[in-house]
């Protein structure tokens, strides 16, 4: 059932920050069920959404993500009982901050996907990819990133650090 693929001018990069117990397992289920979704998403696995620091979202935007998806267990189902409640509270505040600095909030999606919801994972990723495609690339953060690199403020990899110290 190969469909003719539409070639788009712009392929957004989506980063998904997910917990290992529910959403990662849900994404695995989408795989074992051979569901299809756009290949734009890159998954970073965490023990729990409670571990997800909002800084990771900022860094993803800064390093070239056009959209970010954060997903974990449904409220009450967290493997560690309360991690997702803390995450939810944290992100509620963080969204306000993002809005304040001028990021279109529709680039950032929070959701709950359980280990049984392969279909929901597929919907989520497909929707976000399409939505961000309409919005176009996120450039503001990348400009910031360039400025930072230019001033030489970061030596982010051990190799760079090593090289720097060797001078």
């Amino acid at each position: 059932m190969h469909t003719d693929k539409v070639k788009h001018d712009f392929e957004p990069k989506i980063v998904a920050l997910v917990c290992t117990w529910c959403t990662y397992a849900g994404a695995d289920l989408a795989g074992t069920s051979r569901m299809q979704y756009p290949p734009n998403v890159r998954v970073v696995k965490f023990p729990c959404t409670g571990r997800i620091d909002p800084v990771f979202i900022l860094r993803a935007f800064q390093k070239g993500a056009d959209g970010v998806l954060v997903s974990g267990c449904h409220p009450g189902d967290c493997h560690y009982m309360a991690g997702n409640f803390h995450a939810r509270r944290r992100f509620a505040a963080f969204r306000k901050l993002l809005e304040f600095v001028g990021v279109d909030l529709s680039r950032l999606q929070f959701s709950w996907v359980s280990a049984a919801e392969g279909g929901k994972w597929v919907e989520m990723v497909t929707e976000l990819t399409e939505r961000v495609r309409q919005l176009g690339p996120l450039t503001e953060f990348r400009e910031l990133e360039l400025a930072e690199q230019w001033s030489g403020a970061t030596l982010t990899t051990p190799e760079l650090k090593e090289a720097y110290q060797a001078i």
Binding site: H2, G31, T32, P39, V44, R51
Partner: protein, 665 residues
Amino acid sequence: MSRIGVFVCHCGENISRTVDVEKVAAEAGRLFGVAYTCDYKYMCSDPGQNLLKKAVAEHKLEGIVVAACSPRMHEKTFRNAAKAAGVNPFLCEMANIREHCSWVHEDRDEATAKAIDIVTMMVERVKRNKKLQPITVPVTKKALIIGGGIAGIQSALDIADSGHQVVLVEREPSIGGHMAQLSETFPTLDCSQCIMTPKMVDVVNHPNITLHTYAEIEAVEGYIGNFQVKVRKKARSVDMAKCTGCGVCMAKCPQKKIPNSFDKNLGFRPAIYVPFPQAVPNTPVIDRENCTWFKTGKCGVCQKVCGPGAVDYTQEDEIVVEQVGAVVVATGFQLYDIGPKPAGSAIEGYGEFGYGTIPDVIDGLTFERLASASGPTGGKIVRPSDGAEPKSVVFVQCVGSRAREKGISYCSKICCMYTAKHTMLYKHKVHDGQAYVFFMDARTPGKGYDEFWRRSIEEEEAVYIRGMVSRLYQKGDKVVVMGSDVHIGVQVEIEADLVVLATAVQPREGADTLAQKLGISYDKYHFYSEAHAKLRPVECATAGIYLAGACQGPKDIPDTVSQASAAAAKVMTLFARNELEREPIVAKVNERFCVGCLACRKVCPYGAVEEKEIRDRSGNLIKVVAYVNPGVCGGCGTCQATCPSKSVELDGYTDEQIMAMIEAL
């Protein structure tokens, strides 16, 4: 660390059909730090694993990325292979290019590009992975059981029979709990005392059980395998080693008119007493509040009459310290006191029922004492007001239960069944009496339960009225019950001799304080919470602590005993090992940066974060920092994301590792 090997799996054709595995391997080879790459048909097979081991040796690899299926499938396999090859297992990661790539995409170029990205992210991660050693903790093979009702007794006997030491702590002077108060038990109507007493005696005679009665938990420290418990043994005023249990003191005590709470105040007891004749241990205690000696300094009769000289007025509370490896909490329940609303309580009272003011309105437990052969009336059913035999008795179910407006929305689970039992016990003793039952629903799921319930209607002729009671009031020597029958839609009024209220099952007073000492969680009613409602129903989320009986939720005896034996089995599983090994994915505090705000302690769902004082050599306090107990930490990482000074890190998921993955985009 930068000698990484990347192994790309074809998974038969499952991956190679959509992903160009050779290209992935070639691209991975160009990454900084990658010293070796290859692709192979089945990496997880024996030859595949051998290939990995050989490559590690030949190319002196220090880190491994296996690009294959989901880590949930084979992470263990490859980490074991890494270990066998001499690489720390935590320096081996999987790049999921099957479930997250080849199976969900059709376009070969796109899928290949994505696979390369996924591999790159994992290579960047592995470069920053640290060698982690599994954490081992020793196990003290001794269990603490809190509460000596049927739940605690069953757990204690099971564990002790398996050869392990048990410490049983009971708050009251005797073990037995509610079951010792019951008359006969549904669904078989066997006498509660007859099945309970032998078990109580087994406990006190068991060589592996240390029993502390009239004692409470003062403090608990430590973690799974290594708890330190302080037990406060309240002053009994009788030397347990000397007392022979003859009972002379109780017979001679001049104070005879103290309401006996074991009999729901239907009878009286002296100031030196055992709660009931079959008490275990059979050593009396002096109730110091009511004892003449303690009130006025005069009397001393019991001391004079005691042959072995066991009575000791100078005894003081004693603190005993016990080292245990596991804890079973079995503190049971109490019945909802439905008098007028207590000040400051979130739960409304039932002032309209006159409980506590109309003497012939009693609760179910009082009825049990009336019906019990060893109770204050010798099993004769009489009214508390005048001792007459009641010819009509109204039972009211769901008093307090399933009553959201009163503050409790759950079902107490046992009342339908014990009310049916009460109608039978009543009819067996008062042949010409009539029982009426007001009920909302009859809930009788259980082996033989519905048959039992039907018997109360079909054979014992109890009249069941579906509806609620709105008010009770005294009229002459009768109690008028005003209620409704929803089936025929009319108001009903019954003049009863006795009214028995099936009041809600509640957790024990003080259940929350005990939970805080133990570091376990509880629901809004203060019932203790299990780790998982379906799959881990007897464990607390706090490792090494287990639940049994009605302290976790309303339960009848069969359910209580099942859970108690299950908790015991969990303890025995723990005790089967000398040491516990666990994944070293735990948080660590950087004490130099930690400012001691303890924000982490507030969010930690496991109570793993403690305060630690840092002192200089002369003992002056420099600062207070957080300390994560690795035995308790569950590894969720919530503390790390919360810490404002970024001074706590979760091993295996450090900021550096995560950032590297994000930056690899």
